[in-house]
């Protein structure tokens, strides 16, 4: 018996000694930093005599690797695929070598799930060596990714779609490597709709929005500006449905009975069609005007609906594919030819993000070793994007023209969003100033900025 124990015991002791004696793993991992510097396992670097940007033996700089995370499967797959298309199409139609630096990228599917996204971003940063991460689509996933990446100074995190407000507002100092080039805040476009609704004479609005950060923020933006402008939103008339909801009959019945003159509606992905079809089936389309949050009437979510269900519906947005401007119509042509579809804002967003990267890389002559320099360069750019004119504010969020859009039928039987009014030069805080706005908490279920209390 003692036999067995001593053998086992000595085995454990040996293992423990081996473990203690060995150095920590990962000490010899290869890291690829930006700007073309490669440190190999033995820690050697090749430098020119002048100590300038190092190059590999081949005399060329390491390609700039970009990791793109989008939901390519799941309830949001239609929008996620659009986002991927926008990104792919930019690089298919523009040079992929800038200032001697070639661009490489890899697109990964998050399935709209934060945990999957976290695993994939680890793979992109650690295994693939990405210096820029572009993603995601859903605000909650974007928040999770921002949190994962914020302590990594060698990575820039760009979110051209995920619009969690606070990342460029109250929390911006916690995320020094985050920038929203090509992106927006959830409430940026709904502020404008609230103002327009007051001017149009609407007095009593209800809302139906998806119950998560994006829905809270977009709805809050509308409610605050609408109520502060004189309109009324009874908190009891604010309905919230879970993300991915498909059955809207109960919600629509409730809205029908509220006696309001307008309904602010925001849905995402597959729920858009379900909501709009239900709304139309109940006969409410011609009875109670819908004031749509941008995503509700985004072309990616309504492409396959019956035109009668959507024609004439109003929404606000930073993207209007029917906008008669060269940059916009160029993108429409490219996308229509490549995919047979009219571009949604998801396409325009990733296209614009790529545009920003391309322009910034020109300015830094291909050098991305100093990430803050790249970010500064982006912050200084004023670009004509498919959205319209775009420049970044002091908080890393774009300033755009925001459009009041209406669904119009085209000659080819399809429909699209055409601007009927333009609010120029709108930042994320409009109509307040940054200081005023940041005094109040971020929009949430508990805080909708309702002036009526």
């Amino acid at each position: 018996m003692r036999h067995r124990h001593t053998t086992f015991g000595s085995l454990v002791a040996v293992l423990a000694l081996v473990a203690a004696a060995c150095s920590a793993p990962g000490a010899e991992e290869t890291t690829t930093t930006g700007g073309g510097v490669t440190t190999t396992g033995a820690g050697e670097t090749t430098t020119t005599a002048g100590g300038e940007t190092t190059t590999t033996a081949g005399g060329e700089m390491e390609p700039l690797r970009i990791g793109v995370l989008q939901p390519l499967t799941g309830a949001i797959a239609a929008s996620g695929t659009d986002a991927k298309d926008g990104w792919d199409l930019f690089w298919a139609n523009n040079p992929t070598e800038i200032a001697g630096r070639s661009i490489e990228y890899r697109v990964e599917d998050t399935a709209g799930d934060p945990e999957t996204a976290l695993q994939k971003v680890d793979e992109l940063v650690q295994s693939y060596g990405a210096e820029i991460i572009v993603g995601e689509l859903l605000a909650n996933v974007t928040l999770a990714l921002a949190d994962r990446l914020k302590d990594n100074p060698d990575v820039i995190f760009m979110s051209p779609i995920g619009s969690a407000d606070d990342l460029t507002q109250r929390l911006r100092d916690d995320y020094p490597n985050f920038i929203r080039a090509g992106g927006w805040t959830s409430s940026q476009t709904s502020h404008v709709l609230g103002d327009w609704a007051v001017k149009e004479g609407y007095q009593n609005a209800a809302s139906i929005c998806t119950d998560y950060a994006f829905g809270h923020e977009m709805c809050g933006g509308f409610v605050q500006v609408f109520s502060e402008g004189g309109g009324t939103v009874d908190p009891a008339n604010q309905l919230w449905n879970p993300l991915g909801a498909q059955d809207f009959a109960t919600y629509v019945t409730q809205l029908q009975g509220m006696g309001v003159d307008s309904v602010f509606a925001l849905q995402v992905g597959g729920s858009v069609g379900d909501f709009l079809n239900t709304w139309s089936d109940f006969g409410l389309k011609d009875q109670i005007p819908i004031l749509g949050g941008e995503v509700l009437l985004d072309i990616s979510n309504i492409r396959n609906l019956d035109p009668a269900v959507v024609e004439g519906l109003i929404s606000s947005g930073h993207w209007a594919e029917g906008r008669d401007a060269p940059e916009t119509q160029e993108l429409v042509e490219v996308v229509d030819e490549a995919t047979g579809k009219l571009p949604s804002y998801y396409v325009a967003a990733t296209w614009t993000a790529a545009q920003y990267i391309s322009a910034a890389l020109e300015e830094t002559a291909g050098d991305t070793s100093d990430k803050q320099a790249v970010l500064d360069s982006m912050r200084g750019l004023e670009l004509q994007t498919p959205f319209g004119p775009s420049r970044l504010d002091d908080y890393g969020n774009p300033i755009y023209d925001i459009y009041i859009r209406q669904i119009e039928l085209r000659d080819d039987g399809r429909f699209w969003n055409v601007p009927v009014e333009t609010y120029e030069d709108i930042d994320q805080f409009w109509p307040k100033t940054a200081d005023e706005y940041l005094q109040q908490p971020v929009y949430s279920r508990d805080f909708q900025g309702n002036a009526g209390g």
Binding site: A24, E115, K120, E123, S127, N140, A144, D211, A213
Partner: protein, 348 residues
């Protein structure tokens, strides 16, 4: 060693494989980079989670579709203390354990009188109740945004440190599970799986035994949940969703229910498909589905079952029928008993 010589070929093989696996497990951070080590950590935790499901399903005959509710509740306990309260690590872990055990106790009491299909339905509902609460209770759980900034305790912050820690915890838990399964309690549970009526006639309070089993399995699911939340440093409602529970069950089936090592193998296979294969194959969910279908059709007892069958077939060819006896589930010691019996009676 005399001990090893006295064991049957099957037992010897198992020991060798186990030693090799543990050896590779310990040496892994020296062999591969941070990403794969992170995946291995994830697979270990998923394996522990599936083992807890296997305890209920494979040994108890009670398939649960709500285990993710238990582990997510524990994770939220940790996350809440870390994110909302800012408590210390001990407080976080103790809260996680307490919440997980409380939830498994409540669920166990609700489910202990049912079995088979009804058990599946009740546990499914239970898991989704946890999911629903995590979406609604914004102040506690952060709803869809989840809870972020859940830092790992000092000494475990680097990926390889956390990996070894998780490996150690999982090995200890596996040992505990092995002890549970081999104990009289384990035998009683298997008896209940075979025939609950007969066990009751023998005087067992089967409902109580099932409750104990639920809590024991819940304990291991709680550990897995806590390990996971420190790994991801994040938790969101998707951790409690039916999908997470279902994947746990599928991993166990894929690896082999009723074996302890099967679920671990299943977890590694799935993590591999989801994270490595997915880089090269856009339709990786299709591959996952096909894998399950193939296993169900051709290898009912999972990967371990298929390997066992192959091993026994090889043994039979090599040693003839006396050693292996008629085909039966692989169990440590079965070969030894048969071998000893033959020695006593002499070759026929």
């Amino acid at each position: 060693m005399e001990l090893v010589r006295r064991l049957s070929p099957t037992a010897r093989l198992k020991l060798v494989l186990l030693a090799v696996a543990i050896g590779v497990g310990i040496a892994l951070p020296y062999m591969v980079g941070s990403f794969l080590v992170g995946l291995a950590t994830l697979a270990l935790i998923g394996g522990l989670f599936s083992m807890s499901i296997d305890l209920l399903g494979g040994y108890g005959g009670l398939i649960t579709l709500g285990q993710a509710g238990v582990s997510a509740a524990a994770g939220y306990g940790v996350g809440y203390m870390a994110n909302r309260i800012g408590a210390g690590y001990m407080a976080q872990i103790l809260t996680g354990l307490a919440v997980g055990l409380l939830v498994s106790a409540i669920f166990g009491v609700m489910a202990m009188r049912s079995d088979s299909v009804y058990f599946i339905m009740i546990t499914l509902a239970q898991g989704m109740i946890v999911w629903g609460l995590s979406i609604r209770l914004n102040r506690i759980t952060g709803a869809e945004n989840g809870l972020t900034g859940i830092a790992r305790p000092p000494g475990l912050t680097l990926y390889w440190q956390y990996y070894w820690f998780a490996l150690g915890v999982v090995l200890v838990c596996s040992l505990l599970l092995y002890v549970v399964v081999r104990s009289p309690f384990g035998s009683a549970i298997r008896g209940i799986r075979e025939s609950e009526g007969r066990m009751r006639m023998l005087g067992y309070n089967t409902s109580l035994q099932k409750l104990y089993l639920f809590m024991v399995a819940g304990f291991f699911a709680t550990i897995a949940g806590i390990l996971l939340v420190y790994l991801n440093q994040f938790i969101s409602p998707s951790s409690a969703h039916l999908t997470a529970s279902a994947i746990g069950v599928l991993q166990a089936i894929l690896g082999g229910m009723g074996t302890l090592v099967g679920p671990m193998i299943g977890s590694f296979v799935l993590v591999f498909i989801r994270n490595v294969v997915s880089q090269y194959l856009e339709r990786w969910p299709t591959l996952m589905g096909l894998t399950f279908i193939v296993v169900i059709l051709f290898a009912r007892r999972g990967i371990v079952g298929a390997l066992s069958r192959g091993w026994r077939a090889w043994l039979r060819r090599r040693y003839g029928d006396e050693l292996t006896g008629p085909e039966k589930p692989a169990e440590l010691g079965a070969d030894v008993a048969l071998g000893a019996q033959l020695k006593a009676t002499g070759p026929s």
